[in-house]
């Protein structure tokens, strides 16, 4: 029988995620890298007491709507609706404003385990690769040492970091096929291929499903063996022919770039006038 990992809907894709599950969520922080529609489906299901593993705790849909993102929800949908019990995360709060996660944290309504970003990636990778842990130099001599085995290898100190195992990994890719092979687009790769295969079940949300064989084996980033389910986003209407309005926007862009270059030159000029030597 042909292998077919494609599921018809987002609700079906997350149907077996129960209260208390450990969930990895791929992406970085920018919404285009995140499995947005899987998060919405999980929220609709109404699960509680999740432990999440992710890079950020979300910025909220309003920020992304302003940027014109067609699917603007991020981790914040789980945060603001009280679905999370504990977050294992690298960048939980923002220096610029107080996000919903910080509010819950201050109110004692959520637990946190903050992990340096590279250590988070490596602990997730260790789970995918079947390792019992990894020795990492990052964090020696800081609070990250607490409770961890320390070992000197080749004259340098390392901390033993344990794998992070999850029940489900929710990831976002650009294209996928029925075997679960995936390719990504630009900087929307980030934690997605890192988390693929690191959980008991990996669910990939893709922009587009393609026929088996269409993805060049030389450029497949995540081989299908790491992926259990593939679900496609609804198609967005293709962009129309550039209108006059777009041309005006282009002219504006060129003008603002010219002004930007002029500003840089002004900075250099001002620096020289203040007696700073510059060649």
């Amino acid at each position: 029988m042909p292998i077919n990992k494609i599921v018809a809907s987002f609700d079906e894709a997350v149907a077996d995620i129960e209260d208390g599950a450990v969930i990895m969520v791929g992406g970085f922080g920018t919404v285009v890298s995140i499995p947005t529609l899987l998060l919405e489906a999980l929220d609709r299901k109404g699960v509680k007491n999740l432990t999440t593993v992710s890079n950020t705790t979300g910025f909220g849909a309003d920020v992304w709507r302003m940027q014109g993102a067609p699917f603007p929800e991020d981790m914040d949908i789980l945060v603001r609706n009280g679905r999370i019990k504990k977050a294992i995360v690298s960048a939980p709060v923002s220096a610029l404003y107080v996000n919903n996660f910080e509010k819950l944290l201050r109110a004692g309504k959520v637990k946190i385990e903050m992990v340096p970003q590279g250590t988070l990636a490596e602990r997730v990778r260790a789970a995918r690769a079947g390792l019992g842990g990894v020795y990492v130099p990052v964090g020696v001599g800081t609070v990250m040492e607490k409770g961890k085995e320390k070992k000197t290898i080749g004259g340098r100190e390392y901390l033993l970091e344990l794998p992070i195992k999850a029940d489900f990994a929710l990831i976002h890719a650009h294209k996928g096929d029925r075997w679960g092979n995936l390719v990504y687009r630009g900087t929307s790769r980030t934690f997605n291929p890192t988390m693929a295969g690191a959980a008991k079940v990996t669910i990939a949300e893709v922009d587009e499903i393609v026929e088996l064989g269409e993805l060049d084996p030389e450029v497949i980033v995540t081989p299908g063996v790491y992926v259990d389910r593939v679900v496609a986003r609804p198609k967005i209407a293709p962009a129309e022919e550039p209108s006059e309005e777009v041309e005006t926007a282009d002219a504006q862009a060129i003008e603002s770039r010219r002004r930007f270059q002029a500003e840089i030159e002004d900075v250099i000029k001002a620096a020289k006038e203040r007696g700073l030597r510059h060649e």
Binding site: F28, G29, T30, V32, S33, N55, Q67, A69, S90, A91, P92, V93, V98, E102, L105, R106, M114, V115, P116, Q117, G118, T119, A121, E122, V124, V136, P137, V138, G139, V140, G141, T142, V143, M144, Y184, R185, G186, T187, R189, T190, F191, N192, P193, T194, V221, A249, A253, R257, F260, I264, V267, I268, A270, A271, R274, G275, L276, R277, H278, E279
Partner: protein, 227 residues
Amino acid sequence: MSDKLKGKERLDRQIIALRVAKEFQDGDVVNLGTGIPMLASNFIPAGREVVFHSENGILGFGQITLPGEGELDVVNAGGQTVQRQPGMSFFGHDESFAMIRGGHIDISVMGAYQVSEKGDLANYMIPERKVGTIGGAMDLAFGAKKLIIAMNHTTKEGKPRIVKKCSYLITAPKCVDLIVTDIAVIAVTKRGLVLKEVAPGWKPKEVQSLTQPKLIVATDCHDIELM
């Protein structure tokens, strides 16, 4: 801080960034943190090839684009869209941090709340909010071959940020190599902190009065040079 020093003109963010950019040489792989460090990417002289790395999995990108001009899938770690350019590559998170931890990044530039005499760095706990965000700062502080800090010399209240011992939780011990501030350029050495350059109009003893540990004034200490 005396009123005399309070009113004294300091370098602005752009000029600090311009001074930082002087450190980047042909072929260097450079990671820039958000804020002042990111501005430095705008000041690479024509003809000099510097490869920018961002921890979200991108290497060899161009300048920050104008708002609305770039692709949402081609961004730096601050989420700003950047220009594509020949030679650029994309990769996943474990790969990105293998580059950082494995010593493949020549220079990392980031901001700081405090730097100690020994080069300890404190930059992830937001002091007034008692929460923090570690992100990739700790990995970069441990992994980059050279760490440059770009920051204001004093806090808003005029207190020194260059201190004998950090009072905030540290990101990494003994990791800072060079500090570029709005009034000085200071190297962290085994002998101690060496004052190498001062902003125009500033005297070494004035910089010292805003710095907690003792500064060693370099014999050739001079006005800040750009590029």
